[in-house]
Symmetry: C2
Subunit: 130 residues, 2 copies
DNA sequence: TCTTGACTTGGAGTTAACTCCAAGTTGTAG
DNA sequence: CTACAACTTGGAGTTAACTCCAAGTCAAGA
């Protein structure tokens, strides 16, 4: 699979893919004899994981660390497990914040919709802001 | 409430609070006759909202837009409602991505924990990466 | 009143994560 | 064999969101 095909498949730029490889977010990609990237299934699996974890706000640094440990072999399984658990906690915490924001948003939207219908904005004592 | 007290209450730096005010993420804060910030309940409510929505990944630009609309008065209620709904959609989408990453993480952690117990890492055909 | 520490401003600097560029190479269609 | 698009690299530039700094002002305690 060429870099272009991977770009299109995952809606990501070629620059980002090359950047991920350069800094170690994914291991080095398989090449043709001429030196052009030819993504194999394994390469693609790494790309998919990288995108997935980046989408969840996991820092690039953490992904680099994981790949590094992976390449050091089975002796780093404990370290990798810890890293993943740490990532899990961060993501859970972030998600909790998303839920809180959603609650606040839903409340505000509800109040605005009433205002739109009645033409009057109603406020309680402790919400003098918008 | 002084800027320091607000910092401590919300675990945020004074620089960030001043930055939020400068760029318009929150409206101008109440001052003492000497020009020093003296946060009132309303100011604090804005700070709280800003932190909450930033924590959910809402871009500073969007918060600025909201404050601007708010300050233009009731004629912008529709625009504000739309903005909030847009924010809601983005947050929901981001949250979905967090859930996908969590699933993947849980699966990987589970597999690593088995490896730790048995000393053997088991792989299925389509997961040759770590 | 003096000192000391917290506050003020405008502007410059930093960080993470890309994103773009120039100059050169590869590979395919005619 | 020749175009020509798509690929390669190292390195520089950009963006969002802070973060720091210098030089000056304010205010509470001795």
């Amino acid at each position: 699979m060429t870099i272009k095909e991977v770009c299109e498949k995952y809606d990501i730029t070629a620059d980002t893919l090359r950047y991920y490889e350069r800094v170690g977010v994914i291991p080095e990609v398989t090449r043709t004899p001429g030196g052009i990237r030819d993504y194999q299934e394994t390469d693609i699996a790494w790309v998919e994981n990288a995108i997935c974890f980046r989408d969840a706000g996991m820092p690039v640094e953490m992904l680099i660390e994981y790949v590094k440990l992976f390449q050091e072999g089975d002796s780093t399984i404990d370290a990798r497990t810890n890293l993943l658990k740490e990532a899990r906690e961060s993501i859970l915490e972030a998600r909790k914040k998303y839920d809180i924001a959603l609650e606040k948003l839903d409340y505000k939207i509800g109040r605005y919709e009433i205002a739109q219908k009645t033409g009057v904005l109603t406020w309680t004592e402790d919400e003098k802001d918008g």
